[in-house]
Amino acid sequence: MKILFKRIEKPDYKPDIKSYLKNSDFKALKKALRMKPEDILNEIKKSGLVGRGGAGFPTGLKWESAYKTQDFPKYVVCNADEGEPGTFKDRIILEKDPHSIIEAMIICAYTIKAKCGFIYIRGEYFKAYEVLKKAIKEVEAYGFLGENILDSNFSFKIFLYKGAGSYVCGEETALLDSLEGRKGQSRIKPPFPTFVGFKNKPTVLNNVETLANIPHIILKGGEWFSKIGSKNSPGTKLYCLSGDIKKPGVYELPTNVTLRDLIYKYAGGPKGKIKVILPGGVSSPVLLKKDLDVIMDYKEVEKKGSMLGSGAVIVINEKRCIVDINKRILDFFNYESCGRCAPCREGIKRAKEILEFISEAKADLSDLELLKELQEVLFDTSRCGLGQAALNCVRSSIDKFYEEFKEHIVEKRCKVGVCRVGR
């Protein structure tokens, strides 16, 4: 069952408007423009669609919240700042089916009464940027975007905006600051962007994959969508498989697929024996082999103590050292922390130092308690998701691989021979 990749995977499908007209003809938009905004909201709510960027917030409620806010102008923003390590799904949609995103944004704008929208795309996606730029021009030329769309009194314009290399800008409020031409540093929530967003005006921010689902829901109805995949978060999901896996890539599957099937049935199985799996990129706590039967939807993964996030499934085999993996992850967070709040800025730096001490046989067991405490402080007090999630992986690793950490510290031994301990 495929929804988003159905068109893309046709051998002759190109990211130009002719292919899009032939395959979709903006039917969803035409239908939406004949519907009342309330009816559109009902369909989206009925569909059960939840945001695919990581937080899993119900899209219908988000749109409704912006719709109800009586403060103008309003804005629609597409978050194309995909940056969670292990995530590369949005890139595929942006490069191969850009028009679907544009169509979805127009539908959203019509619903919440916005006149202006932005696609915030990460700076390193050069190809996707060019593809989108061309697509926006095409859609304008065909009269689906601009003044009086399809002879209605509804007008909407989309601007493409390029990020400049910053992971935290994928966080919605940091993205808004960046989009305003500032440093990308997060804002305190609430107020949520649907009330106070771009230029402090009501703003709907949706992930690329979330938006790509919208035209299909409008065309086939919310009820149709709600019956696909799991009950908690219906539909399909783009799962990104990478790491120690035989066939890395993006797999579109209904959300009731198990992690086991994802790895063994679709991605060719692991390379080597599985040690841990990160189901939602480096921000997610680790899962073990015994968790393989988890259903890959937001709630079920959470029940296992982890999070689905953007669906970046990173498989890690037994030849890897758990200390070394976490050290690499904290290097990343340390580099990407925006520096706005102290828990994140200082906490990650200290956690990284402790891991370095462990790998160099300079730590003692009480340092593990310190790491756990740091995780709790960061989780509770960081301004945004970056700091809150930065130590998830190391915390769960200590809980599940205590012996391996202890071996490094007490016996000064790294059994897989990666760390410099004892050398």
Binding site: G86, F332, Y335
Partner: protein, 159 residues
């Protein structure tokens, strides 16, 4: 920075500032343009933009230094971005980075003396399906092996 280049740049600023719904929004696009045109963000340009957009100098300056794609030092003709995030790391990014350093005789963040290559080790580039991966300017290279990297670099060196 040559004076003529600087003039050309300033002539295009107005158009970009007027393009966006909000004036301040133009800052990032203007910095992208400067990076592209000069290979770095000259201090003079930052000050010029602060004045043009009526921003305190510190705000313009801190925006420049916040983003990794803007550099204060002139970059080489070819900017090599090698990913070192987890998926690429698992597939041997560390070795790939060592080889590039050896081949070019520079460290991370440095530019070769002939001003042709800059090496940057970056966060995830969204190329995990073809990891280990790198970009040279806008071109993507994936499934890298030591031999493959040497061959690619040789091609650029000959150009």
């Amino acid at each position: 920075m040559k004076e003529r280049e600087s003039e050309e740049y300033k002539n295009r600023c107005e158009e970009i500032i007027n393009f966006y719904p909000d004036k301040r929004q133009a800052l990032l696009p203007l910095l992208h343009l400067a990076q592209q045109k000069f290979g770095y963000i000259p201090k003079e340009i930052t000050l010029y933009l602060a004045e043009k957009l009526q921003l305190p100098k510190v705000k313009a300056w801190s925006t420049v230094t916040f983003y990794s794609m803007f550099s204060l030092k002139k970059q080489g003709k070819y900017v090599i971005r090698v990913c070192n995030s987890l998926s690429c790391y698992l597939k041997g990014a560390k070795r790939i980075i060592e080889i590039i350093k050896e081949e070019l005789g520079i460290k991370e963040g440095q530019t070769t003396k002939d001003k042709r290559f800059t090496l940057e080790v970056t966060s995830c580039l969204g190329l995990c399906d073809i990891s280990p991966a790198m970009m040279i300017n806008e071109k993507v290279y994936g499934n890298l092996t030591p031999q493959k990297v040497r061959k690619i670099l040789l091609k650029y060196k000959k150009e």
